[in-house]
């Protein structure tokens, strides 16, 4: 049932062979083919503009007031590419290898190799669009290092790389909107995929301003809807980031891949109170020059400035001398949790560690540090009131990214024909842990350079399919269902706010399916989630009506989907009796407390199939076949 459709041949020639052989669609036929794209972040905006440039009719949707606000905008640190501009021995193979290893050997070789190959084109494309990357004095592009690698391959635009890349993609999208080849629907939320004869042929969307339900036909539907980190309530995701589109696709037969693989980012501003609505990331790039430590003495409450060098434990440098502060995210996060759980944490909550720039400032000077991280220091100062130039930052891990997502084949098509998933919303390239600066790379790779080719395989067979009227019964039925669901939410008129139920869900997920997991707690959480689901559908209160801007109604629909997703994540975490990447099962660790992977039994992608309401989902396994790389115990020591 699961066919990953990986092309035959040598790893390094698969993609070029595929591109040479994939059927083309003639220009005359392209203009008769409609493609719907949901989401306008890096993946969605780059796909929409590229497909429109090729001649397809594109309809793009975003829930924000403008496509420029998608959450890709908040990525800070950078974007990887195997350019080897620094002459430090980088290559496509090394980027491929680092990504496979960083993902703890749970991703597909062929997809990752393709990602590494197209990475260089992305930089060229973005430069041509006018993205103002950081430059050397001679005018060439500058690079920095990121966690999990020993070369300098990360391109950046101060601490606002995501913003600049997104604005580049947004400008390309805007150009196509002005030409009429993309029809843009701002403030629209996708509420369902419409299936006709087993193929995705359109969507039901709700205009968030008027509450009107709309039916849109497409020969193909592309979901570029980002990750689902907000299932934990507190995360670094934007408030509106949600799983709804992907979840509707799952319920229409698209399998969900590795849902329990979530990334906890090691350097975020710690939680300060129970009113907190979101967490703020401090870019991983800070670990280039910042040193992480806790006091050697438990419960040391002295001002960090008064703690002498020999009473500080630079625990990452101590445990992982080869990579030091630049170990991958999963490892850095767990190490911080371990120190805090043991009682060495700092700050008022004791759930924080120091990220200190004292040494960098004394060796590089405050000006250099300011030029590298000025805006991040400023952001930290605004939120905490502390000045990181003079006192170390306090940081703690937080939910940041989801490696899991809709299962896709090599063409980025889900298990539903005609339905694609790109960027963070798919599961494809990062295995069990994503390396820093690789999310931007994957989003733009999928949108600019992969999907525009691979979608041809499906659409070339579809050139005779006439546009289907949205009066078709499948559209009518799907709209009725979406409408009914919102009516139900409004009619419950219970006592609990959507926000409070979302917080409850977040607590269940963070406590039991967060940075470390065990069978007992997971099983317990499954019961708690079922109770929460009942409580939601019997006691939620959603004010207002369906025919106006109603942000509570929007949130209610999203939280209802998050609750169901939470349940699936727990099933997945329970199935995987091993530790790998972001998935750490307490029962499976080495004597030194490192993740203990079980390659013999778990070298597979978990792809979950929806079997109906209140029924257990069915697990399908896609075996991962490592031909090029030999999985080893991941070591950064």
């Amino acid at each position: 049932m699961l066919d990953s459709r990986i092309p035959p041949g040598d790893l390094s020639s698969k993609w070029s062979d595929f591109k040479s052989k994939v059927p083309l669609v003639s220009p005359a036929n392209k203009q008769n083919l409609d493609i719907i794209i949901i989401g306008t972040g890096l993946a969605g905006a780059s796909a929409a503009s590229s497909l429109a440039e090729m001649g397809y009719n594109v309809k793009a949707f975003c829930f924000q007031d403008s496509p420029r606000r998608a959450h890709s905008i908040a990525a800070q640190g950078g974007i990887n590419a195997a350019k080897n501009y620094q002459n430090d021995g980088d290559s496509v193979y090394r980027l491929f290898y680092d990504t496979i290893k960083g993902g703890d050997y749970r991703s597909r070789e062929a997809n990752v190799h393709r990602l590494a190959e197209v990475s260089t084109n992305i930089i060229d494309q973005c430069v041509a669009q006018g993205v103002p990357f950081a430059r050397e004095y001679g005018g060439t592009l500058d690079n920095r290092s990121f966690g999990g690698v020993q070369v300098s391959r990360t391109f950046y635009a101060r601490g606002q790389t995501g913003q600049q890349l997104l604005l580049g993609a947004y400008s390309a999208l805007s150009r196509q909107i002005s030409k009429g080849s993309v029809q843009m629907y701002n403030r629209h939320e996708m509420l369902d995929v419409v299936m006709i004869d087993g193929v995705a042929r359109g969507i039901i969307a709700r205009n968030l301003l008027t509450g009107q339900y709309e039916r849109h036909f497409g020969h193909a539907v592309v979901l570029a809807t980002g990750g689902y980190g907000n299932v934990f309530y507190l995360s670094t995701n934007a408030m509106g980031s949600n799983v709804t589109a992907a979840w509707k696709a799952y319920k229409k037969g698209a399998m969900f891949g590795n849902p329990c693989f979530t990334q906890i980012h090691p350097t975020c501003i710690p939680v300060s109170g129970d009113y907190q609505s979101k967490l703020t990331l401090m870019s991983e790039s800070l670990r280039n020059d910042g040193r992480i430590w806790v006091p050697i003495k438990k419960g040391d409450t002295r001002d960090p400035k008064d703690i002498p060098e020999d009473e500080r434990d630079y625990y990452l440098e101590r445990r992982y001398p080869a990579f030091g502060n630049l170990v991958p995210r999963d490892i850095a996060s767990r190490a911080a949790k371990e120190r805090c759980d043991e009682g060495y944490g700092v700050g008022s909550t004791k759930m924080a560690v120091y990220l200190d720039f004292k040494d960098a400032i004394s060796s590089l000077g405050e000006d250099t540090v300011r030029s590298r991280y000025g805006n991040l220091f400023q952001m930290y100062n605004k939120i905490t009131g502390d000045d990181p130039y003079h006192t170390p930052m306090r940081i703690y891990p937080a939910v940041h990214y989801t490696m899991g997502g809709l299962w896709v084949d090599y063409n980025l098509m889900t298990s539903v024909p005609g339905l694609y998933s790109i960027g963070e919303s798919n599961f494809s390239d990062h295995g069990a842990n994503r390396l820093g600066a690789s999310a931007l790379m994957q989003g733009l790779a999928d949108g600019y350079f992969v999907l525009p080719y691979t979608i041809g395989e499906f659409l070339s067979k579809d050139i005779r399919t006439e546009r289907i009227s949205t009066e078709d019964e499948h559209f009518v039925k799907a709209e009725k269902k979406a409408r009914k669901r919102n009516e139900t939410l409004l009619e419950i008129k219970g006592t609990k706010s959507v926000e409070s139920l979302h917080r409850e869900l977040g607590k269940i997920m963070w406590d039991n399916c967060g940075m470390s997991r065990n069978e007992k707690d997971l099983k317990n959480a499954l019961v708690q989630i079922k109770d929460l689901k009942n409580s939601f559908w019997s006691d939620v209160f959603v004010p207002g009506s369906d025919n106006e801007l109603n942000t509570e109604l929007e949130k209610a629909g999203r939280v209802a989907d998050f609750i169901e997703l939470g349940e699936l994540m727990i099933y997945d975490a329970l199935d995987r009796n091993e530790s790998c990447g972001g998935h750490f099962r307490e029962e499976y660790q080495t004597e030194e407390g490192e993740a203990f992977r079980d390659d013999e039994n778990y070298t597979y992608v978990s792809a979950w199939e929806f079997k109906g309401k209140d029924k257990e989902p069915k697990l399908h396994k896609e075996d991962l076949d490592y031909k090029e790389v030999t999985p080893t115990q991941r070591s950064y020591k």
Binding site: A134, E136, E499, P543
Partner: protein
């Protein structure tokens, strides 16, 4: 400080067809570490529990970068703190017992949709009129084939830091969009990649700004003063220069 109290005056408006008005709310259980938007979350939770409609306001990333938040706090777009979006403003900048007035952006070109939410699609249309470099996917030369001096790259970057929130329009007594438009024009005009369309771009974007009904710039500098990204008013001078240059050549 915990449990400090404030008195809010918030603009409530059901939709763009009805009149709006200020409504008073007292909150007395605030924590100084809350962000301004978290303070509104607390108020909204209270309104919901008493079966009232929560205050609609725009927000998304809450990290000061998406440009969604759009409220005028005590007469200043994004509030009292310089170089800061509303979502990055924390309650420790206020005092116990403060009166705080919250309004939406006020500009003819940004009509109110509901409460504090306004329509900023004119900004999208201005970018669509020419705020891009026409390069199709796949046709780009090697990134290092176009050397750009650090100085030019920084100049372009500082302009590109604009988040498109519209505070410049809200701050301007003429509701001019000049800071927003000039930032994009300056970014692209200062880079070699932007040269081929340099003249066409500035004329198209300035014309579109007029079509959208934004006012003229009279150099009061309010935009720069209130811009959360501290975009320099210098870019407006650059835009004017670019516009005249294009017309003289034209």
């Amino acid at each position: 400080m915990e449990n400090f109290s404030i008195k809010l005056k918030v603009w409530r408006q059901k939709n763009n067809k009805t009149q709006g008005k200020f409504v008073d709310y007292d909150i007395d259980d605030l924590n100084e570490h809350m962000s301004f938007l978290e303070m509104l979350d607390v108020l909204n939770e209270r309104l919901i529990s008493s079966r009232e409609e929560p205050i609609a306001f725009e927000h998304d990333c809450r990290e000061g970068i998406c440009g969604s938040c759009s409220m005028v706090i005590n007469g200043k777009p994004h509030g009292p703190l310089k170089g800061t979006t509303t979502c990055q403003l924390h309650m420790y900048h206020f005092n116990d017992g403060d009166n705080i007035t919250i309004e939406p952006w006020r500009a003819k070109s940004f009509p109110v949709i509901k409460d504090l939410v306004v329509d900023r699609t004119p900004f999208d249309r201005i970018i669509q009129s020419g705020g891009y470099i026409s390069v199709n996917t796949g046709s780009a030369p090697d990134g290092n084939a176009i050397p750009i001096s650090q100085e030019d790259a920084l100049y372009a970057f500082d302009a590109a830091a604009c988040i498109g929130c519209g505070a410049c329009v809200a701050a301007c007594k003429n509701a001019s969009a000049s800071l927003f438009v000039s930032a994009k024009i300056s970014q692209l005009a200062s880079l070699p990649q932007g040269q081929p369309e340099r003249d066409k771009r500035v004329v198209a974007m300035v014309d579109q700004m007029e079509v959208e009904g934004f006012g003229h710039c009279t150099n009061t500098g309010a935009c720069e003063a209130e811009c959360p990204k501290e975009i320099s008013q210098e870019y407006i001078r650059k835009m004017n220069w670019e516009y005249h240059r294009a017309n003289i050549k034209g």
